[in-house]
């Protein structure tokens, strides 16, 4: 930090004007979140008040208690949904990052025959949205006998092209020289990737972790699973929302609850994104 003190001070001054804009926009971003929290703390009679109020008179935790006690599915305890979602999110994110790192490395750093074609496949697979291919995907899962298992929830997300696409583009930023140095010192490709390249890609990998984990945490893939005890949190939340106005409070409580994990992941990874290259001594 010391070395660039003067520079960052200069940048700091210039951004004060921008900070005001930032504050305004930031406030707009946070409002819905605050609103959800307020709603979740309202007792039923306050939720029914028209027009809705942005504050709560008699805050109560009864919505949260109700959420934990009977979560839509009646006999399945709330904790089960949480564990399911946690497991699927963790496994999916971990596998996704590994597979994406493996794929991005040769595409960015070894120009081999066919690498361009593979990268094209990656880019254009980005376009296949789940909505469009929902029906063929279901047929596929059925053929693989994956319906109603965690595999159906995890595997497609591992193959999502976002990670490989993102990491490949970040890896281009890393100078070839450090990899040559590693190879001179006798490091294998695996070692070069996981001990030299990956640490220098920390901001990108952490960003990817944020994106993938939050996508998986919020995705329900409801049509792939029908056994109640395999279902995920969003499915449960959906059931609550579908049950109408009377359960708005519980729905808000569940929404707030669901936002906790992505927020934690976000804050932890963002605070770990330090200026990697500026300080780790990569100089071309």
């Amino acid at each position: 930090m010391k070395k660039r003190g003067r520079l960052s001070r200069r940048r700091k001054q210039s951004s004060y004007g921008f900070l005001i804009v930032l504050l305004l926009l930031g406030a707009f971003m946070i409002l819905p979140f605050v609103y959800a929290i307020v709603q979740s703390l309202k007792p039923l009679e306050e939720i029914m008040v028209f027009p809705p109020r942005f504050y709560v008179v008699k805050p109560t935790l009864e919505n949260y208690v109700a959420m934990f006690r009977s979560a839509g599915g009646d006999w399945i305890p709330f904790g089960r949904y949480v564990v399911n979602s946690l497991f699927v999110t963790l496994a999916g994110t971990f596998l996704h990052v590994i597979v994406a790192l493996l794929a991005a490395f040769p595409l960015a750093k070894m120009k081999f025959r066919g690498s361009k074609v593979i990268f094209k496949i990656i880019t254009y697979s980005l376009l296949f949205s789940g909505t469009v291919t929902a029906f063929p995907q279901y047929i596929l899962m059925a053929n693989f006998r994956m319906i109603d298992s965690y595999t159906a929830l995890i595997l497609p997300s591992v193959a999502t092209p976002m990670g490989a696409f993102l990491l490949k583009n970040f890896m281009i930023q890393i100078p070839d020289t450090i990899m040559e140095a590693a190879r001179m010192d006798g490091a294998s490709n695996y070692r070069t990737l996981f001990q030299i390249v990956a640490p220098n890609l920390k901001p990108a990998v952490l960003t990817l972790i944020i994106l993938v984990s939050q996508g998986m945490w919020n995705g329900s893939n409801a049509s792939f699973v029908y056994t109640e005890k395999l279902k995920l949190l969003p499915t449960m939340l959906n059931q609550i929302v579908a049950s109408g106005t009377a359960r708005i409070g519980v729905g808000s409580a569940a929404a707030v609850f669901m936002m906790i994990l992505p927020l934690i992941v976000f804050v932890v990874s963002q605070s770990k994104i330090i200026e990697t290259m500026a300080f780790s001594g990569i100089k071309e």
């Binding site: 660039r4 819905p32 609103y35 939720i47 794929a103 469009v132 291919t133 092209p161 300080f279």
Partner: protein, 295 residues
């Protein structure tokens, strides 16, 4: 990996291939194949039998139906295209600006980054439905898919105690900007990560050379961030097209739910091929101008 008899080039190709293999298998299985099936369905008529689906050729009939027989598709399709035309540049400039500010050192930067990422967390799926549901149900019960468009922001503003005239003025101005801002969360993050990868010495050099901030931005920041610009253009185009709130998407998923798979597939194919051409064009345009250490 040392195998006698393999040249360096071939060994490199083999390792490269092996490294990408898990991903390629996944992409082909879960994305390419379903898409090819979508294409096939779009040229067929499907009959649902007890345990199977029977396909018979239908030629271009579904495509004709999509354009001629369906009054909703074409306007929605054109709408999505024009939306994208102004959305992409705005989102890119906006998110780069915000990212530059958020990536500098100031107190509370993590808080602000979180604030700008909140929309991504909230607007995905069920959470949005729940938050929005609680906002709209009390007013009208009218639930739009995208939350915090004018419709769903109103009850919130009312609850803040604003008058009706003021609200409608605010909504008019804010609505567009706000919606686009909400779609910039991921792009901001990608840019921040990219900015963190710019070596500090480049800034030292430009400072020593006496460049002003404007010059530094164009000479260093903009150049070094150019690979991320491609990433974000592609991401934004894809996101804008595959957004579940987009009228074409809504229409297609409605058809799919009614098991009108063939027509839905035809529309999806038209839609996909259009995006494909756009993305290919963007690549052609941008990829020759981006920075890379490797060349």
């Amino acid at each position: 990996m040392k195998r006698p008899g393999l040249t360096y080039e071939r060994r490199k190709a083999l390792t490269g291939f092996l490294f990408t293999l898990p991903f390629v298998i996944g992409a082909i299985t879960f994305f390419l194949r379903p898409f090819i099936n979508t294409l096939l369905y779009s040229f067929s008529t499907l009959e649902f039998q007890e345990n199977s689906v029977k396909m018979s050729m239908a030629g271009f009939q579904n495509y004709i139906d999509a354009f001629v027989g369906n009054s909703e598709f074409l306007p929605a399709f054109l709408n999505a295209l024009t939306d994208m035309l102004y959305e992409v540049p705005f989102i890119l400039v906006f998110s780069l600006g915000i990212a530059v500010v958020l990536s500098s050192d100031f107190h509370g930067r993590t808080f602000f980054r979180a604030a700008f990422f909140l929309p991504v967390i909230i607007s995905s799926g069920q959470v949005a439905a729940a938050v929005e549901g609680s906002a709209t149900a009390a007013l009208s019960g009218d639930q739009s898919v995208m939350m915090f468009q004018a419709l769903s922001m109103e009850p919130m503003l009312i609850s803040l105690g604003m008058s009706e005239g003021l609200i409608s003025t605010i909504m008019g101005v804010v609505n567009n900007i706000f919606e686009l801002t909400w779609k910039s969360g991921v792009q901001i993050l990608v840019f921040i990560a990219g900015l963190k990868g710019i070596p500090g010495y480049l800034y030292e050099v430009t400072e020593l050379e006496g460049a002003n901030k404007w010059e530094t931005f164009w000479l260093v920041t903009f150049r070094m961030i150019s690979p991320m610009i491609i990433v974000n253009v592609v991401y934004t185009v894809v996101d804008s097209f595959s957004d579940a709130g987009n009228p074409v998407m809504k229409h297609i998923s409605k058809l799919t739910q009614n098991l009108d798979i063939e027509l839905g597939s035809a529309m999806a194919s038209i839609y996909f091929i259009t995006v494909f051409i756009i993305v290919a064009f963007v690549f052609w345009l941008l990829s020759r101008k981006t920075f890379s250490y490797s060349e």
